[in-house]
């Protein structure tokens, strides 16, 4: 008798807990634990990438959808760059070495996006990118198409006037962007991009976003 009387309340109680859990999950997920201490700048809110249309070094379209389902690192540079770009790409290669313990699908895919389409055709860009790591992918497009992606990300690039030989330099943003499997920017790595520290930061951010590295 007593049991029957309390049954509706028990049912409500269970419903309330379920609703609370669901709301909590919606509000707090996917953050897990306290905000990690990182040298990388971890954005407070993941920022969706704009819709962009470039071409990768396999000749396939490189769009926001290309970044779905896996973590990505985006770096913007150019192949005629003798100092900064090879240093960063080499650091990213060493970072992959530090992440060798992670399952392959948990490791970030590295994209080197050339902001110098005039000189960097897809063949040159492909050979260049593969040299640093066979898993790296290159991509580029027209300056206008590049700006669609770089503008909202705060990535900038400018060309210096060409010298007598037609050589010119390209000033470009230094950071490496971390993009989550939903195609949202979550963090920025600024120089010095020390491989071991980047790898440690990456693992912390993965855990913070609820992934088991």
């Amino acid at each position: 008798m007593k049991f029957k009387k309390w049954l509706p309340y028990a049912g409500l109680f269970i419903l309330a807990i379920a609703a609370g859990l669901y709301a909590g999950h919606r509000v707090f997920a996917p953050r897990h634990g306290p905000r990690p201490e990182t040298a990388a700048v971890l954005l407070h809110e993941a920022k969706p990438l704009p819709d962009f249309a470039l071409t990768d070094t396999e000749g396939k379209p490189f769009t926001r959808a290309s970044l779905d389902g896996h973590w990505s690192l985006l770096y913007f540079g150019y192949t005629h760059c003798p100092d900064a770009c090879p240093t960063t790409l080499s650091d990213l290669d060493h970072m992959q070495g530090h992440l060798a313990k992670l399952a392959a699908e948990k490791r970030p895919k590295v994209y080197f996006i050339s902001i110098d389409p005039k000189r960097d055709d897809l063949t040159l860009l492909k050979n260049y990118t593969l040299y640093f790591n066979p898993s790296f992918t290159g991509a580029t497009g027209s300056v206008e198409a590049l700006r669609v992606l770089t503008g909202p990300l705060g990535v900038d690039f400018t060309y210096s006037p060409a010298d007598q030989k037609g050589d010119y330099g390209v000033s470009h943003s230094t950071f490496v962007l971390l993009v989550d499997p939903q195609g949202e920017e979550v963090a920025l790595f600024s120089p010095p991009q020390e491989p071991a520290r980047m790898a440690a930061d990456y693992t912390k951010i993965l855990k913070y976003y609820g992934e088991q590295p």
């Binding site: 100092d83 900064a84 090879p86 000033s171 943003s173 230094t174 600024s190």
Partner: protein
């Protein structure tokens, strides 16, 4: 045996300097050239230069028989943008030193006359403000010597 031979060669090389006095005014170390990815025609070169004299010196020119031209450049970050600029000369303070390293001063070695790979050696001729010259051998490497 090989070590003895190397030592003898070193001694022989050092002998003229010891006998005729003066000696080099600048000593180079941590020399390396970054191997280029396929298709790359501009390589970065790095080294450390120590001024052995009591007078400030400048590195005023660099050349190499293995490249069309060599320039001195400086990478710098301004407002989050990585840029590069040519520099006509680089100061080496008296009894001090200057480092050419990634993200800072570097040699820009343009149009290699043959394909260069890690393990190859490149000759560099350095000219200083006191008109002294230094010929050095720079190894082509994939990574910096000390990592």
């Amino acid at each position: 045996m090989r070590r003895t031979l190397a030592l003898l060669i070193l001694l022989a090389a050092a002998l003229p300097a010891a006998v005729w006095g003066d000696g080099p005014s600048v000593q180079a170390s941590k020399i390396w050239i970054r191997e280029g990815a396929p298709g790359v025609t501009v390589l970065g070169g790095y080294l450390s230069l120590a001024n052995l004299t009591a007078k400030p010196l400048q590195l005023t020119a660099v050349s190499s028989p293995d490249f069309d031209s060599v320039e001195m450049h400086r990478s710098f970050v301004k407002d989050g943008m990585e840029s590069m600029e040519p520099v006509p000369a680089v100061d080496i303070p008296a009894h001090g030193s200057v480092d050419f390293k990634p993200g800072g001063f570097h040699l820009m070695l343009m149009q290699p006359k043959k394909n260069l790979f890690a393990g190859d050696m490149v000759t560099l001729m350095l000219t200083f403000s006191d008109k002294s010259e230094l010929a050095i051998m720079a190894p082509v490497r994939r990574d910096p010597p000390l990592r």
